[in-house]
Subunit: 383 residues, 2 copies
Amino acid sequence: MNELPHDHAGGAGDVAVPPAAALPARLLCGPGPSNVPPRVLEALSRPIVGHLDPAFLAVMDEVSAMLRLVFGTANRATFPVSGTGSAGMEAALTNLLEPGDTAVVCVNGLFGERMCDVAHRCGADVVRVEAEWGRRVEPDAVADALTSHRGARVLAFVHAETSTGVESDAAAVCAAASAAAPDVLVVVDAVTSLGGTAVEVDAWGADVCYSGTQKCLAVPPGLAPITFGPRAVERVQTRRTAVQSWYFDLSLITGYLDERAYHHTAPVSMLAGLHEGLRIVLEEGLASRRDRHVRAGTRLQAVLEDRGYGLFAAPGARLPQLTTALVPAGIDAAEVRRRLLMERNLEIGAGVGAHATRMWRIGLMGENATDAVVDVLLDALPG
Amino acid sequence: MNELPHDHAGGAGDVAVPPAAALPARLLCGPGPSNVPPRVLEALSRPIVGHLDPAFLAVMDEVSAMLRLVFGTANRATFPVSGTGSAGMEAALTNLLEPGDTAVVCVNGLFGERMCDVAHRCGADVVRVEAEWGRRVEPDAVADALTSHRGARVLAFVHAETSTGVESDAAAVCAAASAAAPDVLVVVDAVTSLGGTAVEVDAWGADVCYSGTQKCLAVPPGLAPITFGPRAVERVQTRRTAVQSWYFDLSLITGYLDERAYHHTAPVSMLAGLHEGLRIVLEEGLASRRDRHVRAGTRLQAVLEDRGYGLFAAPGARLPQLTTALVPAGIDAAEVRRRLLMERNLEIGAGVGAHATRMWRIGLMGENATDAVVDVLLDALPG
């Protein structure tokens, strides 16, 4: 081993090492991540223990228990996937779908499109139920699609479309799906809703729901909370084919959670951060937290309309935690956004889709859903 | 939105919130994770910025540049996958393999087995080149397999087998593969070697190499550094079929790295931690760091042999950073391990495979490859 060459770095001082990262202090009012409270940052900085340590497994159990409360579910298979929100999407669809299955997917924005892409890569035949970006997919359209495609295995939709600021009527979509196709498994993307807008997995009758940590939960990005109901677990157990992803295979992950069998090395620090973040969410209470998001977002949207901004999301379907604002004529959306970041350390998000060049996406998520942050925004935004 | 029921948590105080996690301070001498230096923990605790923030993209570029040094490569496509080490394995194989491809996989431990599993889930025909656990796979056996299976698309092997403590002769395996099958792409698992044992991707002629952060790099688990060489990138670009994983699709990930196109939300805090961890690695120098691992591991192994322990890994193939020790008769391996954890806050790892019940896996990785830690172990271990 001593003989192996290693010419590119013979010892200290041979290599130019960059200086320590000096990240600016930003107010994060984009589509996520949102600012992280000091208690969570402190939890991230604690010395780590092993992923099979009894002390850590107890923390994991508490994380799962708290996630059940936040998701509104009694599902045993509730845990954080070791990846970002999109890893949650992939874990949900990869476990449920087999080649040749039909998946009905609601598409009214970027993340519905992404679900189609992921389902297609699982070998599924994808049936799209579309609505114009900025509008909800109608429950009747979901029922029609499921009636026209008997035997569809999955119905998937996005609860809170981060690309458009639209909230689906999740209860109605789930009810329509269940009535039209009792055996279809319903998958809900709650990346931008969980911890802000009410998510009620069991009351809705959803089978799988996933989220991300970096939106209304106010924990850094890197974990995807997910829950699988009994019908979903049974679907995975009775597959004809192996789950195409080893990393996201539910049966292997639950082996770690239930029997403490090693699967992959859990991201210990991130999980300590999520534990603290969930404690903060539950200390506040889900209803209080939801109301706080509603108050902040409603106020921002009302003032923006008064100032001549358009609101892209349809009335009655607007997420309080993510406002899609169409800037008045004469405002250079990209230039203002750049200046807010550089001159005020204030991040707001770019638009996506057809109206991207004149749209901002303004997040009031987690810690930032307050009057004080709305004041900062209203002071900073032109008009 | 105000009408949605949310009965399970109507407000603060309705729910029993667990106390803050109080993890014990352990000395982590298992197969990983290893202890994390305070500078890295501090970096994890810094306020975050957005994943598209210019300040963060500069940090990402520096992380990639430092990873190139650590991997010994000039490969542009060098970055951390947003998942743990096994996500690196999945990213490597999922991008390179298409259904019906032949993959030749070296198997001399658990992680070679896992590579077979992942390759199989990619639809590949898997050809195993086996060696007894505890021994190296011979380069001649690799050449024979590639000669017998003309047209094999991938040759994969584990550089540092975490299950057995065996180091492959990576240069020789790569050379044998290249001589026998010039077109085969070589994939190297360097999860337990990177930052401890020399990894020389370009000198070896390896096409893809991946690792994890939680071993010799001494950063918490949660990221999988990976590098794709030009032939691997071309293979991905000329696939007949889509990569079955959207999350791990190289072409989408490099769109973020190169063109700043949004793919998934990068795990900002973990990346800040990795940035600081790589700075520490390069400040020390790779050769110095490697020598430190050799010194610590060689000493531990010599003393254990003197005390009557067996060393499971074959002479000449022993990893210094991971010792697989066979306990003398009369020692209850599991009970000693449990007592070290509970009474001394000292974690050592359980064995795996046929000799699991009388084996320990003792890691001296990253910060822990020191005489002081060896002293602690020698004081604590019976015999």
